[in-house]
């Protein structure tokens, strides 16, 4: 190893070992950010292979045609004979009914089938047998939501049926996306909700008997094309505008099935950027704190002949090494936890398998982690390198700033606020960093609240009382994300307060020698953190709503209840005060005489 590299490695490694707790905090921040980023990146396309497996197992159609009415029937049936179509099944009658089971009342689409296996779209049974007279087969995601299995009993429009089997299909998007593309809106009367409609197969006779004047039958025709890849073009050419009804390609159905994971991805991507920003703040504070403590070390390296460049490299090397380690751990954690989030749900056959971690993903995650470490370390490293050797050896504290307005204003305030404001004025960048931490965290939390408020406003809850798997999964991801954000913010608040405590040792001891009580000093240290977080928490409210609007696919955001917003702001203040109270109290209890003696 070249001597220069050896020196950098030795010094960086020894410092990492010496500062175990700081190293652990740095790694925690980096791993949280890189794990979230990895998850957001690797979830892309994970439902593709389960859909393909289901399509193969069910002899899935390339295009599904749904129609109602005599003229549409003629046009739709004419599609069977046009060139490029080399197979079909159906048309099958589809009725709309109300299913009751286990105290739930759910709208369903009931498709009538024969007993013989269909050449195209034969749903693949995962439980029980195919529907016999007096029996039904339930789509698996729908059965999961209801908690039903083969052998259970249900009623359709009041008539009792046995659940003969449970099956998956690739011709209809899985529950709750059944009506995502097909003609549910067309013939289905208003009393049948479409957002939580389930899929049921039964005999043709039963399906036809369920039709009413208000909800007449519609039909489904499954087509197999010579060139499955051309399904989109075929659907576009013969779809709405012609009389054939709705044509949906297998690619569109696959995309609808991916909705479950897509929704998670839409949440995780901005979430990972928020976590990344928080990690940037964490690393800036921690790295800045380490740098401040390394003034003497920098002086020593220069005193024995090290150049300013070498000093800067040594100081940056350890943070870059930690960033690389954090990125590796984040990639591994993201890769391992992705299957938990990328399970395609009950509607598709098989699991997603391990998501693929591409070179681009590795590059982006590592680049982000190293970028965070580089940006947050560069300025303090260069400052330490450029500082005079003598100043470094005497380890003189960085001179505080003077905020004249803040000092004058604070004179009119009670002692804790006076002390807190003056601490802010001494180190305004640290206050900005603390405020940024609160801003990012509360923005994330307000965006999550906006999501829930919007969900309530636009969907208003399903009459069936069933849980939407997409919403449930997104809510889980949001919960994990908010825990990650709060965790990172808590680490930041503690670290920033501790940096303030260390930096304020002398003024705090001096204030005590002039008559300030330990309680006033510790309250002042806490106030230095709480004061900047007030405007940050208030500003985060519009930013959080704006963030939701930006990533919400054009859905108009609904404002969270004012009581929640007040609770968020007050809760943030209380949390910051509580998190900072312990380090502040420890700092304020240090004997003033000892500090003044040491700093004399």
């Amino acid at each position: 190893m070249p001597p220069r590299l050896l020196i950098i490695w030795r010094l960086a490694f020894s410092d990492i070992r010496r500062r175990k707790s700081e190293t652990a905090l740095l790694l925690l921040a980096l791993v949280t950010a890189t794990t979230t980023l990895t998850l957001g990146l690797v979830l892309h396309g994970v439902t593709t292979s389960p859909y393909q497996r289901t399509r193969a197992a069910t002899r899935g159609p390339d295009v599904v045609v749904s129609y109602s009415g005599r003229s549409a029937a003629q046009a739709a049936l004419a599609l069977i004979d046009i060139s490029g179509v080399n197979g079909h099944s159906g048309p099958y009658p589809v009725a709309y009914a109300t299913l009751r089971a286990r105290g739930r009342v759910v709208p369903v689409q009931v498709e009538g089938r024969g007993q013989a296996p269909a050449p195209v779209d034969q749903p693949d049974l995962t439980q029980g047998s195919w529907a016999r007279p007096g029996g039904v087969v339930l789509e698996r995601a729908f059965a999961d939501a209801l908690g039903l299995s083969a052998g259970a009993s249900v009623t359709l429009d009041g008539r009792p049926f046995a659940v003969d089997g449970i099956a998956v299909t690739s011709a209809v998007p899985a529950y709750p996306q059944v009506c995502f593309l097909l003609t549910c809106n067309d013939p289905a009367p208003a009393q049948y909700g479409t957002s939580d409609m389930g899929m049921v197969w039964t005999t043709k006779a039963v399906a036809e008997s369920l039709a009413t004047g208000a909800a007449p039958l519609s039909y489904v025709l499954n087509l197999k094309l010579q060139d499955p890849a051309a399904a989109n073009a075929f659907a576009a050419a013969h779809g709405r505008g012609s009389l054939a009804g709705d044509l949906v390609s297998w690619q569109q159905i696959s995309a609808a099935d991916a909705e479950l994971v897509l929704a998670e991805q839409q949440v995780l991507t901005p979430g990972s950027w928020l976590a990344g920003l928080l990690a940037l703040a964490s690393v800036t504070v921690l790295a800045g704190g380490r740098m401040a403590a390394q003034g003497r070390r920098a002086g020593l390296i220069k005193a024995v002949g090290g150049t300013p460049g070498l000093v800067a490299l040594v100081l940056m090397a350890e943070n870059l090494v930690l960033a690389a380690a954090g990125a590796a751990a984040g990639l591994a954690a993201g890769w391992l936890t992705a299957p938990l989030l990328s399970n395609p749900g009950g509607g598709l056959a098989g699991g997603p398998g391990a998501p693929s971690v591409t070179l681009a993903t590795v590059g982006l995650v590592c680049g982000t982690a190293l970028g965070i470490a580089f940006i947050s370390t560069l300025v303090p490293a260069v400052q330490a390198a450029r500082r005079s050797t003598v100043a470094g050896l005497t380890d003189a504290a960085r001179p505080p700033r003077r905020g004249s307005v803040m000092i004058a204003l604070s004179a009119w305030l009670p002692v804790p606020l006076l002390f807190g404001l003056r601490l802010i004025a001494r180190r305004p960048r640290r206050a900005v960093l603390g405020a940024a931490t609160v801003l990012i965290t509360v923005t994330g939390i307000v965006a999550i609240l906006t999501y829930h408020a919007t969900l309530g406003a636009h969907i208003g809850g399903w009459s069936s009382g069933l849980t939407d798997p997409v919403t449930a999964r997104v809510s889980q991801v949001l919960l994990v994300l908010s825990v990650a954000l709060v965790l990172l913010a808590a680490v930041n608040a503690i670290v920033i307060t501790w940096s303030t405590v260390l930096d304020a040792r002398r003024p705090a001891a001096l204030a005590r020698s002039l008559g300030a009580s330990p309680r006033q000093v510790s309250a002042g240290l806490s106030a230095a953190q709480v004061i900047p977080s007030i405007p940050a928490a208030l500003l985060a409210i519009p930013l959080g709503v704006g963030l939701f609007a930006a990533v919400g696919n054009g859905v108009a955001p609904a404002f969270p209840a004012p009581a929640w917003l007040v609770l968020i702001v007050v809760g943030t203040m209380a949390a910051v005060a509580m998190l900072t109270a312990v380090p502040a109290r420890i700092g304020a209890r240090r004997p003033a005489a000892e500090v003044l003696r040491r700093e004399a």
Binding site: W412, A425, L514, A516, P518, R519, L596, E599, A600
Partner: protein, 245 residues
Amino acid sequence: MTDASMVCARGLRKEYGKDAALVRAVDNVDLDVTAGETVAVMGPSGCGKSTLLHLLGGLDRPSAGRLWLAGQRIDEMSERGLAALRRDAVGFVFQAFHLMDELTSAENIELPALLAGRSPRAARRRALELLDQVGLADRARHLPSELSGGQRQRVAIARALTNEPLVVLADEPTGNLDSEATLDVLRLLENLHVAGQTVVIVTHDSRIAATADRLISMRDGAFVDDTRLTGGTSGQLGFVTDLEG
């Protein structure tokens, strides 16, 4: 303890460490300082002078013994009580000045008044008055970094007087100063003495000690000599000034 005692200590002890590493920084000290008296404490470095001063001002707690300030027992006081005592009854002057770097002279001086809950206007008025008294009226808006060592110590003395304390405790007030600045500080201390201010000064400087009413010598944490000095203070200071001249 006598009725006239401003500061009184009985069996005062301060220990650090334990067993073989036990150090008695202050060892069984008895002390009475009457109101208006100036007491100088001298001794070699590390003999416990500064620790004694910190104990007298309630900045540190004794390991044993009793301590009164203006008749009030302070060794058993709560931290809050000690803070109030430091705010209202004690003024500290440190060797290293210990001024807030980011505050101007006036802002440093008014700080104890603000801590005591005085209005900012009253605090500023008092600060300017004190700056005038220490001869720095034209330095009110200067930061410590823009002042000489002597000027910084004069600001520190002014700050110690802000709340009209019962006793001023000065720890090596000229330790970091050149001869000229030392003389300035000596003059200020003399003015305090003349004004009847109770002062306890820890010093290495025999010229300062010569201005006191009493000179106490310390060694290994204990008092080894307590001498009442005679002669007028101004005479002593004049003597010092002559020496410098």
